[in-house]
């Protein structure tokens, strides 16, 4: 009966703030999807199970699994930590419910933290007490749970959610898929075969029968020696055989060493390939980050400079914010200067009472200008009132006097002590830039704010993009030092390939020689048989003969069982692979398992022309590995009865693979819970991108949750909200 996870709940666990009923995810049989953007609880979700099975969590900073007690403070929700006063407690835990056919179980693992001092992020500020694991059980008829007290029983209940030997096929994060089926490691497929078959039993029997063969031979030789017809030639033949067997044994040892060398070199080659592709991706991301960083700094500087120059707008003549509110000054000044001029010229008039120019003081000196006056005189027409001013008329004379006026001005100098007329006039004229645009200052301020907002938005967007790139970079698991450059990797790669070739050659030679030795041993055995005295009790001969044959037959049986399983895996792997790539353009080829010189299983994709397809996209590689994992599960003699919990790096798959993936997963596992971020689209109403919307419509997708986090809040206030979409 399959175990089905019914719900997963969290209490103050990383970004999941609140009690168990606040953050409870309910799941069904079939495919369940939890969509979460990076940092919105995706890997933390996963950690709940690592806690459940192993009492550890995976520290996202260094990707190392650590014991709960050691990282407890990090696990507690920041918001919960903040709300706990000194001396008070906060509980953190996970709760999982699952059912088998008969029972339903509820398992709770938690710890209590007491706050001791101020610094909430300091490990020493909290006292941690790990609580006893709680397990409750109910049959499906009664609604209430009853506690399970026995410690062993509790452990069994937890274990059987997914059996330990199968966990590696059922429960993995993205990168782990790579390590489960590591094509360089001989042990990977063999381990799978071991899980799926009773090959270990055969191995026991092989050892036994071989031992019995040796014993039978010894007994026979003893009998032979004891017999009177025993002779030197027989002795010699026996000796020769022993010598041959010794040599054979040495050769087999050497073969073993070279096979190991081969495997190590192959392993290194595969690691480097992985490393290389990671290194390339790393480089690509590094370049993008550098670009983005540069752009961000530029805009940040532009923004800072802009902010600092806002106050310059007070005194800059193009903006003249300083004039704001002084609209009345213009009118007041105009009124005053008018009034001043009246009195000023009145004084002049009083001084020159008979001055024929007296009527002219109302007009500023250069108004009308000399050129206009000359025109009016020449044309005998006043252009101001548009009336004739014929020569000899009063009007004509008046205009002439106006024109001659400037020449007389020097005589006016003494009608005031200080002639400040220019002083006031100049002020009015010069200050124009500062009062001409008073009405548009409000607008200018508004535009400044808009400009600032635009810059700020741009800066925020760039910062967000930069962070996203950095997060991606962080997710790239690199084995080997970060400092290794491409050249070093290539050289090491070449070295590994050379060593593979060398080992391969040696292995072949050794196998040849071993084969020869074995056949020589056989002929020697025959010779020995013929040389044996005829009166040895039949029992010994028969014992020897049967045990020899049994040893061989058992050995062959073991290999057969192994090969059959490998073939079966190949068959299933192909089936799964075909359905995984159903929506992809890669159709037309098959997966082929092959034995390498060292005996490890290689796994290649052969295209329709029979050529091995190397290296392709990362998504493709992942797909190959998923196929094998699913094949292992399908080849299980009983139906696979455990849920799949996977953090699926769909971006590595590509959308074409993703559809196939969900379908295939639904067929192999009775229940799967897949955590993804690649279906998330922040700007969408449903928070799903195109692919996500397509997937959610499929019938076999039973449940979809979206996790999101309010990134505008301070870290301390951040919590994960979940939305059930289906």
């Amino acid at each position: 009966m399959a175990s089905i996870i019914n719900s997963i709940s969290f209490k103050n666990f990383f970004n999941y703030y609140g009690d168990y009923y606040d953050t409870r995810y309910e799941f069904e049989e079939g495919v369940n999807i939890v969509v979460a953007d990076n940092g919105a609880g995706k890997s933390k979700f996963f950690n709940a199970f690592i806690w459940l099975f192993y009492d550890q969590i995976l520290d996202s900073d260094d990707k190392i699994k650590k014991n709960i007690k050691d990282v407890a403070v990090k696990i507690i929700s920041d918001k919960a930590k903040n709300e706990t006063s000194i001396g008070d407690n906060v509980d953190t835990g996970i709760q999982i419910e699952y059912s088998t056919g008969r029972f339903k179980y509820q398992i709770t693992k938690s710890f209590t933290a007491t706050r001791l001092s101020q610094k909430i992020t300091d490990f020493n500020s909290w006292q941690i007490t790990i609580n006893d694991v709680q397990v409750n059980r109910t049959d499906h008829i009664l609604p209430k749970y009853t506690p399970v007290y026995d410690a062993d029983e509790k452990a069994t209940i937890i274990k059987q959610l997914i059996l330990p030997t199968l966990r590696q096929y059922s429960f993995f994060q993205g990168e782990e898929v790579d390590s489960i089926i590591d094509f360089g490691k001989k042990s990977s497929i063999e381990e799978a075969v071991r899980t799926l078959t009773d090959i270990s039993k055969y191995e026991e029997l092989v050892a036994l029968t071989k031992e019995f063969k040796d014993k039978a031979e010894k007994d026979l030789n003893k009998q032979t020696k004891a017999n009177s017809d025993h002779n030197d030639r027989l002795d010699k033949a026996i000796q020769v055989k022993q010598h041959l067997e010794q040599t054979l044994s040495n050769e087999e040892l050497r073969l073993g060493e070279y096979e190991k060398l081969y495997d190590d070199a192959e392993q290194e080659k595969n690691d480097l390939e992985q490393n290389f592709s990671n290194a390339e991706k790393r480089n690509e991301l590094d370049n993008k980050i550098k670009e983005k960083n540069k752009k961000t700094n530029e805009v940040a500087e532009e923004y800072t400079n802009f902010l600092e120059t806002i106050n310059n707008r007070f005194f800059d003549g193009s903006f003249s914010w300083i004039s704001l509110g002084f609209d009345n000054v213009v009118e007041d000044f105009q009124a005053k200067i008018q009034h001043y001029r009246e009195l000023h010229f009145e004084k002049k008039t009083l001084k020159n009472i008979n001055d024929p120019n007296k009527h002219f003081h109302f007009l500023p000196i250069d108004s009308p200008d000399t050129v206009s006056l000359k025109n009016m005189i020449d044309h005998e027409h006043c252009y101001i009132c548009n009336r004739p001013a014929l020569k000899g008329s009063d009007e004509y004379d008046y205009i002439v006097k106006l024109k001659n006026r400037p020449t007389d001005i020097k005589n006016d100098a003494d009608y005031v002590k200080n002639n400040f007329s220019n002083f006031f006039g100049e002020l009015q004229m010069n200050a124009q830039p500062f009062y001409n645009k008073i009405s548009s200052i409000e607008d200018s301020i508004l535009k400044t704010r808009e400009r600032e907002d635009a810059l700020n938005d741009r800066l925020t967007k760039l910062k967000k993009e930069l962070k996203s790139l950095k997060d991606q970079r962080k997710d790239l698991l690199i084995s080997g030092s970060d400092g290794e450059d491409s050249m070093t990797i290539i050289n090491r790669y070449k070295g590994a390939i050379r060593r593979i070739a060398d080992a391969s050659y040696q292995i072949e030679k050794l196998r040849e020689s071993i084969k020869k030795l074995k056949s020589t041993i056989v002929t020697t055995e025959k010779e020995i048989h013929d040389l044996r005295p005829s009166n040895i009790p039949a029992g010994y001969l028969l014992n020897y003969e049967i045990s020899t044959d049994l040893a061989l037959a058992t050995e062959r049986a073991k290999n057969r069982v192994f090969d059959n399983m490998v073939n079966l895996l190949e068959k299933y792997a192909n089936e799964h692979f075909q359905s995984l790539i159903k929506y992809n353009d890669l159709a037309g080829g098959i997966l082929k398992f092959e034995k390498s010189p060292s005996g490890s299983i290689l796994f290649n994709y052969i295209d329709s022309s029979g050529n091995i397809v190397h290296g392709s996209s990362e998504g493709f590689q992942r797909m190959k590995k998923f196929s094998v994992v699913m094949a292992v599960i399908s080849a299980n003699t009983t139906k696979y009865n455990y849920p799949l919990l996977a953090d699926a790096p769909l971006s590595a798959f590509g959308s074409a693979f993703t559809e196939g993936f969900f379908e295939a997963v639904g067929e192999v596992f009775p229940q799967s819970i897949i955590l993804v971020n690649d279906l998330y689209e922040n700007d969408d109403d449903m928070k799903l991108n195109e692919l996500g919307k397509k997937i959610i419509k499929k019938d076999f997708i039973k449940r979809v949750y979206i996790n999101q986090i309010d990134k505008n809040r301070e870290q301390i206030d951040r919590t994960t909200d979940k939305i059930k979409l289906k």
């Binding site: 007994d219 049967i546 044959d549 049994l550 037959a553 049986a557 069982v561």
Partner: protein, 69 residues
């Protein structure tokens, strides 16, 4: 793990079958009566290994089958 299954698997070796004239393999079991000595020896090995007897103890049994010391 089924003892009979293991027995049949090992005995499915063509050469062995021919040499020891083994017929009707599918119905063979690790229990008496045994088809012939070869089958008996193999059955004993399989059974007693499963019963966690030591190798020397199993070998003694085999010698008994052959009536040797």
């Amino acid at each position: 793990m089924d003892r009979n299954q293991v027995l049949r698997e090992i005995l499915s070796d063509e050469e062995f079958c021919q040499k020891y004239d083994i017929k009707d393999r599918e119905n063979l079991t690790t229990n008496a009566p045994y088809y012939n000595k070869a089958v008996e020896v193999l059955s004993v090995i399989i059974n007693e290994n499963d019963n966690n007897l030591s190798d020397s103890q199993i070998y003694k049994k085999i010698k008994n089958i052959h009536n040797i010391g």
